[in-house]
């Protein structure tokens, strides 16, 4: 276990280092720089101003030198200043991260809470009406574009019925927890509907495959009840491929949901990453993307630990391979 942890740590640091260089270079290669955007917004900026501003923001240096300066500062804990939000990068990130964890965490938990039981039930009654219904709803959820779904939910619940707000995060301090929760209902519903279909389908497929195994027939033969067969014998094995999918989705938890956040004016990581890339805010874009990478790596690590827990036949050494 210790060896596994050490290996994983080194691998993660290496991946983060490489990602930081790749992302920094890609942003640097994008056409235009922050000063070009300033000139577009203020035509009175002269060529002297442009040269002065490039020097002020270090944009006149080669990109490798700029990356090196950033890395040296980052290693000592200084992640720089966000030009777009006029505050230190971590200060700009924290509220967006908190908003995203809240929004996507809730929708993720809700999606799993619905999808896993739905997939299990559908698998235990294959080709029944219930199974067809679950599949139909799952395909509908997968197929419907999230921006359209979000707008439709707004039209129905905010505009026509007037029971829920159309967007925003509420006004903190006004109306308490319930007032703030109201603002979460529609965006969480949008994200949950969009993701529950896929998870249900994976769960169903994995469960059907597992229920076909000989040991399940044996369990039934020795008199185990159907509930015990499904939950005690089949589920753990069926969860292994599903855990892989969930682990991949874990990283998405922290990179946000750009379209949903835009439709519902939810200031989360998706919008932050998009705005920082489009606004050429190097520091913020880089740190936000690295954070998403780190959390994806953590998700994969947790998935590997889960494999070992789910299936005692799997050891950490096998997971490493």
């Amino acid at each position: 276990m210790a060896r596994f942890l050490v290996h994983r740590l080194w691998q993660s640091l290496l991946v983060l280092g490489l990602m930081s260089f790749v992302v920094y270079s890609l942003i640097g290669l994008m056409p235009g720089d922050p000063v070009d955007l300033m000139i577009t917004a203020d035509p009175k900026i002269t060529s002297e101003d442009a040269a002065r501003l490039r020097q002020l923001y270090g944009l006149d240096k080669p990109i490798v030198e700029r990356y090196g300066n950033w890395l040296m500062a980052a290693v000592s804990g200084d992640f720089g200043y966000s030009r777009l939000f006029a505050k230190p990068v971590m200060e700009a990130l924290k509220p967006a991260l908190a908003n995203t964890v809240l929004l996507l965490g809730l929708s993720f938990a809700l999606a799993l809470a619905i999808a896993l039981p739905a997939g299990i039930i559908a698998a235990t009654r294959p080709y029944s009406k219930l199974d067809y219904a679950v599949n139909a709803l799952a395909f509908a959820g997968i197929s419907v574009p999230s921006f359209w779904l979000g707008l439709m939910l707004i039209v129905v619940f905010a505009v026509l019925l007037g029971v829920l707000p159309a967007g925003g995060t509420g006004e903190l301090g006004k109306g308490g927890v319930w007032d703030s929760l109201k603002f979460l209902v529609l965006p969480v519903a949008t994200l949950t509907i969009a993701s529950v279909g896929g998870h249900a389908r994976y769960m169903r497929a994995a469960m059907i495959e597992t229920l076909r195994q000989d040991y399940i027939r044996t369990a039934r033969a020795i008199g185990a009840g159907e509930t015990r067969v499904v939950l005690h014998h089949a589920l753990r094995n069926a969860l292994i491929p599903v855990v892989t999918i969930i682990a991949l989705d874990f990283g998405n938890l922290f990179s946000g949901a750009l379209i949903t956040e835009t439709i519902f004016s939810w200031p989360g990581m998706g919008r932050l990453i998009y705005d920082s890339v489009m606004g050429n805010d190097f520091n913020l874009a880089l740190v936000a993307l690295l954070l998403a990478t780190l959390l994806t790596l953590i998700g994969n690590f947790l998935a590997d630990v889960a494999y070992v827990w789910l299936d005692p036949r799997i050891s950490f050494r096998e997971v490493e391979r």
């Binding site: 235009g32 300033m38 917004a41 060529s47 006029a86 007032d179």
Partner: protein, 555 residues
């Protein structure tokens, strides 16, 4: 039956618990939707309309243009002019023609913490503005302002090293409270990261207008409440919330659901979106379309040999029916532009030749230009080269993409093969336009001010090149010695009648040489509740909240 009744009762109770009536039902709160959040709240660092809009509720400039596009005093007592003796032409120490302009700040002007607005703030603002590393983007004003003499706590004289007709317009000189930010300027390089405007945005002392900012949630909303030290007319609303909704469809939905009361014209829907909204819900709102100084046009890259021929440029404009575009796409609410000067501007020349939609004349011009052969519907020259041009604009802008398709079909009808290639705004304005990498036509808009001299867009010294760090907005590459001379003369001509003549000649050359195809002046649609009174759109960059104390509710 009883159980159904109970279920219905519970549902009603739940709906009642969930539903909360809009606070503006009390009509002492106003919620405004806009599409952008400011990157900084510092008035002089980074130019951004969202910041200008929000700060307009809370701060007053020394001078500004009003809704009639006249220069007026806001923080000053009297507008200094040469006629009233408060502005005196002089010779600078290095022999240039300059001017000394004296302002007196209002005696009752105070910051929100009770500190009087004074000449200390003027000196401090000047100090920040002329420091090369403080982060101020446009230093042109500060380079020209070489000295300030202080007479007392309220009166000061600014000495400029050039004498232009705008000598008394210091709209961009936005005061910074010295008593709050001076300590942060101890290290000028770090100032932009330490300024109170961003580290303590709700500090009362930052504001001298009718409102002050009391809450900021980045990316979400800004809350404004009345400033108790405001000296002017008491504002009606006890609370104004500016909500940011980036997606315009969601913005409309927020308006219909009552989450917001109005959509600001400065940062809201496009005209075609507003027009479509008006068709569906126009009876519920007061919708005002204000023609403004946003000049939608097509820059022509004159380095392209095809476009370098004025006959081709004239053929292009004759070949498109701009009136029909304005009528069909914008219901006539965005008037056709005939030059870069808005008809509402006093220097507009209305007697110049106009280019009517005339495909026959367009065809004749193209024949004269040598594009005589037609193959597969498109014109070719004697060398067999096809008359092909590339048209670019910002991808994702539905209005522009619609207009492009109409233009493409009009030009196809006269034998011009126009290929559309759009780019994301980030790329389009990042390098394609700013470094003149577009090969043919680039469609976008300029935002200007009343009587804005087009130096950066037409003067030959402002063609962006690598040598000048790609500064300058003369993206067409237009070079005309007379235009250069006219621009320089207009800037320094104080006599209005003479200046008008110079403007007339400038517009005459503009419409004759046609470095740009004028399309229309964008209108800003203001979608307001019927109970809101007093909001008067300005049509230029000094936004409507500068007069928020006049906004009220119908009795």
């Amino acid at each position: 039956m009883r159980s159904r009744f109970r279920v219905a009762l519970c549902a009603l109770a739940l709906a009642g618990a969930l539903w909360s009536p809009s606070a503006s039902a009390a009509k002492d709160e106003l919620v405004i939707g806009i599409t952008q959040f400011p990157s900084t709240f510092h008035p002089n660092i980074d130019s951004m309309l969202a910041k200008t809009y929000i700060l307009a509720f809370t701060r007053r400039p020394i001078t500004t243009y009003d809704k009639d596009w006249q220069l007026v005093c806001m923080l000053c007592v009297r507008l200094p002019t040469i006629d009233n003796g408060l502005a005196v032409p002089e010779t600078t120490p290095d022999g240039k023609k300059g001017i000394a302009v004296t302002y007196t700040l209002r005696g009752d002007a105070t910051w929100g913490d009770g500190t009087p607005v004074s000449t200390q703030d003027v000196l401090f603002t000047w100090e920040i503005g002329r420091h090369p590393r403080a982060g101020v983007g446009n230093m042109e004003l500060y380079r020209s302002l070489y000295k300030i003499d202080v007479k007392d706590a309220k009166t000061f004289t600014m000495h400029f090293d050039k004498l232009t007709f705008e000598y008394n317009a210091i709209n961009d000189f936005r005061l910074i409270p010295a008593h709050l930010d001076r300590k942060n300027f101890a290290d000028p390089v770090a100032y932009k990261t330490r300024t109170v405007f961003d580290t303590d945005t709700v500090n009362k002392g930052l504001f001298n207008g009718p409102y002050r900012i009391t809450e900021v949630v980045t990316g979400s909303h800004v809350v404004l409440e009345p400033n108790p030290t405001w000296w002017g007319r008491k504002p009606h609303f006890k609370r104004i919330v500016v909500r940011i909704v980036q997606n315009t469809a969601a913005l409309e939905a927020n308006l219909l659901s009552g989450n917001i009361d109005m959509i600001a014209g400065e940062l809201g829907l496009t005209v075609d979106q507003a027009f479509a909204f008006e068709k569906r819900h126009g009876d519920k709102f007061n919708i005002v379309y204000k023609s403004g100084l946003i000049y939608e046009h097509i820059d022509l890259n004159l380095s392209n040999p095809i476009l370098n021929d004025v006959r081709v440029r004239r053929a292009l404009i004759h070949g498109i029916d701009r009136g029909s575009i304005s009528d069909k796409l914008f219901a006539g609410r965005q008037p056709v532009a005939h030059s870069n000067v808005n008809p509402l501007d006093w220097v507009y020349a209305d007697d110049l030749p106009r280019y009517a939609f005339d495909p026959k004349t367009a065809a004749t011009l193209l024949d004269d230009a040598g594009w005589t052969e037609k193959r597969q519907g498109f014109r070719h020259n004697k060398k067999g080269e096809r008359l092909t041009l590339e048209l670019m604009t910002t991808a994702g802008n539905r209005t522009r993409e619609l207009v492009e398709q109409v233009l493409q079909s009009h030009w196809k009808a006269i034998g011009i093969d126009v290929r559309i290639r759009n780019e994301a705004p980030r790329v389009f304005f990042g390098q394609t336009v700013t470094q003149r990498k577009f090969t043919g036509l680039a469609m976008f808009a300029w935002i200007s001010a009343p009587e804005s001299v087009p130096r950066t867009t037409l003067h030959s010294a402002h063609i962006p090149t690598e040598a000048n760090n790609y500064a300058g907005q003369n993206y067409t590459g237009f070079k005309n010695a007379e235009v250069d001379q006219l621009i320089e003369s207009i800037e320094v001509e104080l006599d209005r009648a003479k200046r008008r003549k110079l403007w007339h000649r400038l517009q005459e050359i503009y419409v004759t040489e046609l470095p740009v195809i004028p399309l229309y002046f964008r209108a800003e649609p203001y979608i307001m509740p019927k109970w809101l009174t007093g909001l008067e759109p300005t049509g230029h960059q000094d936004p409507s909240p500068l007069w928020v104390e006049n906004w009220g509710v119908k009795p």
